[in-house]
Amino acid sequence: MLNTFVVYVENKPGVLTRVASLFRRRAFNIDSLTVGRTEKPEVSRMTITVDADRDQARRIEAHLYKLVNVLLVENITTQAAIVRDLAMIKVAATHEARSHVLELAGVFRARVVDVAPESLIIEITGDEDKIDGLLEVLRPYGVLEMVRTGIVAMRRGGKTSSVASSANSLTQDAADDDVQQSV
């Protein structure tokens, strides 16, 4: 099954390589990986989706924690979370097809961000299924080019997964959870 990990790492050179190399070395296939800044300049946040069973997911978590630059790992697969992917789709849109394409974009609450004589660029945000759905209906018109960001995720509700004031204590707590779950 597809697992979604939220990983906080120190914002230092080479950390992305360390994380990516870990998955390669342990023969896990990354489905999607995004990385970006957080509310703290010294911390970056990754969202990683990986195809893994329960045991594999636990070991991925444990291996991530072994990387010295990793601050916090959360497997949010089974938790209520907002998951978003962003895509830009350049679709062929001749004069006669254009209104149909615009209508479809409207149904998916996508936005048209560029208009050219023979094509449109449609921007859509949502979970992966929604984007796949739009893509499916646009395909007959001719998808010329597409780019997707990969997913970012955040848990719902008041509980935060921030490595706030005391990274040490938070990671230690998370580690204890991890150990208890691993049995």
Binding site: R59, Y65, Q172
Partner: protein, 569 residues
């Protein structure tokens, strides 16, 4: 006080307790070498950087302290790689210092530039590239802390030439490690202790599987107390040998591929495995589908990533073994295990009779005889045996009875041929009071024998026993069993090792008959300088018993009875 990066390097090493480093100079590390003359640290000049990494590793395994290797950029750094991977697989704490081209040249394919942090990323516990002198002190402190804490391992610090040359204010106290994500010291939850204790007290046929973690954690005394109080027999991994004295009545000996048959059968018959500081390597489990099928499993292990990796366990206690045992010991109850122990005794059956040691002297020299005689001669003294990899390594594990932790140093996980001689140099430097014996095959010896010059230059008293069968023996054995005796690329044409040693100024002997073994060992021990003995042993001898790769642990290829093998050819 203002210091150059080179000065800061040596001062930080001294403050970390380093007294010896093993290294080889070159362009990008020259500023560091230039500053060495003002340091109290003794530099051992190696003949190849692989030797430096193995020496640092041997130093660490003999002493428990961090070993340090130094090399230049490019080929100097890449030559360390095998030694670093060896240390990684066997959780040995070493710090490798490499020079790097100037920071403005990085990425330009400058002379002797290589991306050594990229290359060593998967074989180090952590690594660093230092491009500014201001980062150097803190980085070195972090490197030593990471190397020695938690599950130990190798750390590499790559320092650009300009970072060695430029200066900054040096303040040791200010340069504290900043490792917010690093968590080396986990401990189990109370309910996990309770579950483990319940399993232990209810077990009728328990076995302890004792590994390297017992030695790394310094838990030998706690293990002994546990064993004696609970009366649970102990099987050991190769790297665990010595963690419980071999002479202890509850010590069964080595398990796994070349463990004794009764040890493996005991594990297969058990109803509880208590794994202490070991990682269920494929060399100890055999086929996982048939491994200890009726046993519950408790795993005490410092590295959470090892839990449920190879073998699913019922209770995992993640933490330092010694701390976990200290917590458990007051709650361990004495249980009568006589029925189970009698059963194990019966499993031994005729194994002792089949032992090669019971063969009459046929005039042929067997490696097992050499190693057993070496053990008899050195028993009771502080002796460190450093082995290479192959048949001689397994015979050593079978026929040399290790009574103390750190008395055997061997490459387990990576199985690195060429390890023995340089690792022994490191061990001797770390513990000059210990009598150091290298037990090495003729194949592996030739991989790193250039370090004989290091032995001489450092005036080290090391005894070298070359177990010379004219083959890459373990590969030949696999060809014999699994490749229809097709001995491709395994026969060796060797130099005269005794004359080779003489050329280095090392005293040497050649031994071909069993009755010469003991006198040669005695002579080597009495000599004040290094000695090499070339033991010309039976060429097509085989390590028994053996679990073939992928076979169940109890399906062993046993010793032929009576053993005739090639002896009567």
């Amino acid at each position: 006080m203002t210091k150059t990066g080179a000065q800061i390097l040596w001062e930080c090493l001294e403050r970390e307790g380093v007294t010896h480093v093993f290294g080889y100079p070159g362009g990008a590390i020259l500023p560091a070498y230039d500053a060495l003359k003002h340091s109290k640290i003794h530099h051992v000049l190696v003949r190849h950087e692989q030797g430096a990494a193995h020496m640092a590793d041997g130093y660490a395994r003999a002493s428990g302290q961090v070993g340090v290797a130094v090399a230049t950029s490019g080929p100097g750094a890449t030559n360390l790689v095998t030694g670093i991977a060896t240390a990684m697989l066997d959780s040995s704490p070493i710090v490798c210092i490499t020079g790097q081209v100037g920071s403005r040249l990085i990425g330009s394919d400058a002379f002797q530039e290589t991306d050594i942090t990229g290359i060593t990323l998967p074989i180090t516990k952590h690594n660093y590239l230092v491009t500014h002198v201001q980062e150097l002190a803190r980085t070195l402190r972090e490197a030593f802390f990471v190397a020695r804490s938690g599950r130990p391992g190798p750390v590499l610090v790559d320092i650009t030439k300009d970072a060695q040359q430029s200066s900054c204010e040096f303040d040791w106290e200010e340069a504290k490690p900043q490792l917010p994500g690093y968590r080396p010291d986990l401990s189990p939850a109370p309910k996990e202790y309770e579950q483990a204790l319940e399993l232990i007290h209810n077990a009728r046929r328990p076995v302890i599987l004792l590994g390297h973690g017992a030695i790394v954690s310094g838990a030998m005394h706690e293990v002994l107390t546990l064993v004696e109080r609970s009366r649970i027999p102990v099987a050991l991994t190769l790297l665990g040998l010595g963690a419980l004295p071999a002479s202890h009545p509850l010590s069964l000996g080595m398990m796994g591929m070349h463990g004794e048959a009764w040890v493996n059968r005991t594990i297969q018959e058990a109803d509880l495995l208590i794994a202490l500081g070991m990682r269920f390597d494929d060399r100890v489990t055999g086929n996982l589908k048939t491994y200890a099928p009726n046993a519950k499993k408790i795993h005490v292990e410092i590295d959470p990533a090892e839990i449920n990796k190879n073998v699913k366990v019922d209770v995992a206690l993640v933490g330092d073994l010694r701390h976990v045992l200290l917590e458990m010991l007051p709650r361990i109850e004495a249980v009568d295990r006589s029925e189970w122990l009698t059963f194990i005794d019966q499993l031994k059956g005729d194994s002792a009779v089949r032992d090669i040691q019971n063969l009459p002297d046929s005039g042929h020299l067997y490696a097992a005889h050499v190693i057993n005689d070496l053990w008899r001669e050195t028993r009771g003294s502080d002796t460190t045996v450093v082995t290479d990899v192959g048949q001689h390594q397994m015979w050593e594990a079978q026929y040399y009875k290790h009574e103390a932790a750190r008395s055997l140093i061997t490459s387990g996980g990576l199985g690195t041929m060429g390890f023995a001689l340089p690792a022994a140099i490191g061990a001797k430097v770390a513990r000059p009071e210990s009598e150091v014996w290298v037990v090495v095959g003729d194949g592996g010896f030739q991989m790193t024998m250039a370090e004989l010059a290091t032995v001489v230059q450092e005036k080290l008293k090391i005894n070298i026993a070359v177990i010379n069968n004219g083959y890459l023996g373990m590969v030949r054995q696999w060809q014999e069993f699994f490749y229809d005796r097709n001995y491709q690329a395994t026969p060796l044409l060797n130099p005269d090792f005794a004359r080779l040693a003489s050329a280095y100024g090392i005293q040497s002997m050649t031994v071909t008959r069993r009755e010469e073994v003991v006198p040669s060992v005695q002579s080597a021990r009495q000599s004040t300088g290094a000695v090499l003995i070339d033991f010309k042993v039976e060429q097509e001898d085989t390590v028994y018993p053996m679990v073939a790769a992928g076979a169940a642990l109890h399906e062993m290829i046993r010793r032929p009875s009576p053993i005739v093998e090639t002896a009567e050819d």
